[in-house]
Amino acid sequence: MRWLDVGQIDDMGRMNSPIHHLDARAKLIVTLAFIVVVMSFDRYAISALTPFFLFLAVLIAAARLPMAPLLRKLLLAAPFAVLVGAFNPFFDHQPVLQIGGWTISGGWISFTNILLRFVLTVGAALVLLATTGMYRLCAALEQLGVPPIFVTQLLFLYRYLFVISDEGAQMVRSVRMRSGVRGLSFREYGGLVGHLLMRSLDRAERVHQAMLTRGFDGNIRRLDSRRFGLSDALFLIFCLSVFIVARSWNLAEHLGRLLN
């Protein structure tokens, strides 16, 4: 079930490693830069993208993250990019490369490129979450200037995701027991989802009461979070320099030439 996975990735965010200890802001900026740099490559770039896999692999290793759940997430998310990218070989027959007797068309190259981009960008986002956790990520957003009200309700959303999904799952189960697996008509659907909605509204009201009884006055105050330290700054500068180098020179090709 999807919800369990959510908890799993977030739990990884509470592991102990040098990467986990870095400031969430530094990791967020590095991740965004990583994605932008990867996306800025030409649509036929393949070898030039490979050093970025190396970067991700090093991060995952240093953070001691388990690979299997991350890979599972990647596969689950793949269909859309694969689907749209798969059109390229049909439309673009320009031969661009010959290896032995094989001629490879531009469409296949750009399709491969789309797949690589997909794995890199989605992988980077997952690693960010798995080394930071939702809660610290939200704190970082607020420190970087995202409106507090947005961050607060995002945290509430995340907090009640589990609670309300449980309620929804219970309702689905009880409906299945009564009516089998037959699909719901729009009226029945309206009743079931409407019921869930009313329970959610009641929940929101009670949460608001609970906040008021503990002194809430419209502004949420939070515990002081840690400062941006020297190691965070070094991490940030190091990663950004690596990106600039890898963007400017095709490192893989240089390595290949060295070996030839």
């Binding site: 939702m134 009743g191 959610s200 030439r257």
Partner: protein, 344 residues
């Protein structure tokens, strides 16, 4: 209809990030100014509700398949456009982070495509004027249907426009549009009916719920939003399409400005010449009509001088790097296993 990172250019992603960020800031100010402090928990809980509701499927008559709420319209009905936009954005943030639906770069596009049209077009311009305060009347069902269809058509059109203008897929604008628009007509239909059904039920059981939203009283108060929309359109239409049509994309273009030369990474292996030769030999151009991207006046596909993957060195080096990455991955897995053993 989440767009994926892998299919958009940084320029496109960046532009819509800016647009969505601006809208979030604007909506956050509006919600704050309303001093309705009960809204914060309500927004969060309703966002969670949208996720939970997606576990429940409604049968689509005559098709044998089923659908669920995507939620934009019902959020706007319950919360009004400002708060609804923020909630839609958060739902997408969580989807991007946890389910890798879309991605971080495409997040701006997704928030815009799914949030803006539902909260600031379909709801205030179609649903409100048509449905007024009615629910469970033919009028309200019709309003919901029309509003959802319009929201999803515009959203899907946004996806098509942004994807083809990014120039990463070879799917032509017209064929992609022909693929997306009819599908989203169906999705919009389901969304409209599902929304109306839920609103009808809640309206009958607890009518007061439907009148607590924070809505702009006059259409004038939405004016800044529409002005913003026009600005974004101009920005995308002008700047972005220019970026998309010329090969040096956004970042390269700015790199060029900085360094004074475009082809920082040009291998200069003579690959270019080789390519030109191949191109001459095999003049396979019939497909060209299909790959029309919005770039008029592009005479032939500009093969990148940065011929990544075209040289043997590239392949060998790339394979080596990937090999190292995979080795690190394996080492991590084994490390994790041995740790599990010691812990367990």
């Amino acid at each position: 209809m989440h767009m994926a990172d892998a299919l958009i250019s940084p320029t496109m992603g960046g532009t819509l990030w800016a647009a969505s960020a601006g809208l979030i800031a604007y909506c956050a100010r509006k919600v704050r100014a309303s001093a309705a402090e009960h809204l914060t928990p309500l927004m969060g809980v309703l966002g969670a509700f949208i996720f939970a509701s997606q576990m429940i499927n409604v049968a689509i008559p005559g098709t044998g398949s089923s659908g669920h709420l995507s939620g934009g319209l019902i959020l706007a009905i319950l919360l009004g456009p400002y708060a609804a936009f923020l909630v839609i954005a958060s739902v997408l943030v969580v989807q991007a982070l946890f389910f890798a639906d879309g991605g971080l770069l495409a997040l701006g596009c997704n928030i815009f495509n799914m949030g803006f049209f539902a909260a600031f077009v379909a709801y205030p311009l179609i649903y409100r004027p048509l449905a007024r305060d009615e629910y469970n009347t033919p009028r309200a069902w019709g309003a919901s249907l029309l509003a959802a269809i319009v929201a999803l058509q515009l959203g899907a059109f946004g996806v098509v426009l942004e994807t083809t203008m990014s120039g990463i897929t070879d799917l032509a604008f017209s064929s992609f549009a022909l693929l997306m628009q009819p599908i989203h007509l169906g999705i919009g239909l389901v969304e409209g009916l599902a929304t109306a059904a839920v609103v009808a039920f809640v309206g009958n059981a607890r009518p007061e719920v439907l009148s607590v939203r924070l809505a702009p009283t006059r259409s004038r108060s939405l004016r800044p939003v529409y002005i913003g929309l026009i600005a974004v359109t101009v920005l995308i239409g002008g700047v972005a399409s220019w970026f998309a049509s010329t090969r040096p994309d956004g970042l390269e273009w700015s790199l060029e400005k900085i360094t004074g030369e475009t082809e920082l990474a040009a291998p200069a292996e003579g690959a270019h010449d080789r390519l030109a030769a191949i191109q001459e030999r095999s003049a396979i151009m019939p497909d060209y009509d299909f790959k029309s991207a919005p770039a008029e006046g592009e005479e032939s596909p500009n093969w990148p001088a940065v011929g990544a993957g075209t040289s043997v060195s590239g392949i060998v080096g790339g394979a080596m790097t990937m090999g190292i990455a995979i080795l690190i991955g394996l080492a991590v897995r084994m490390g994790a296993r041995s740790r599990e053993r010691t812990v367990g």
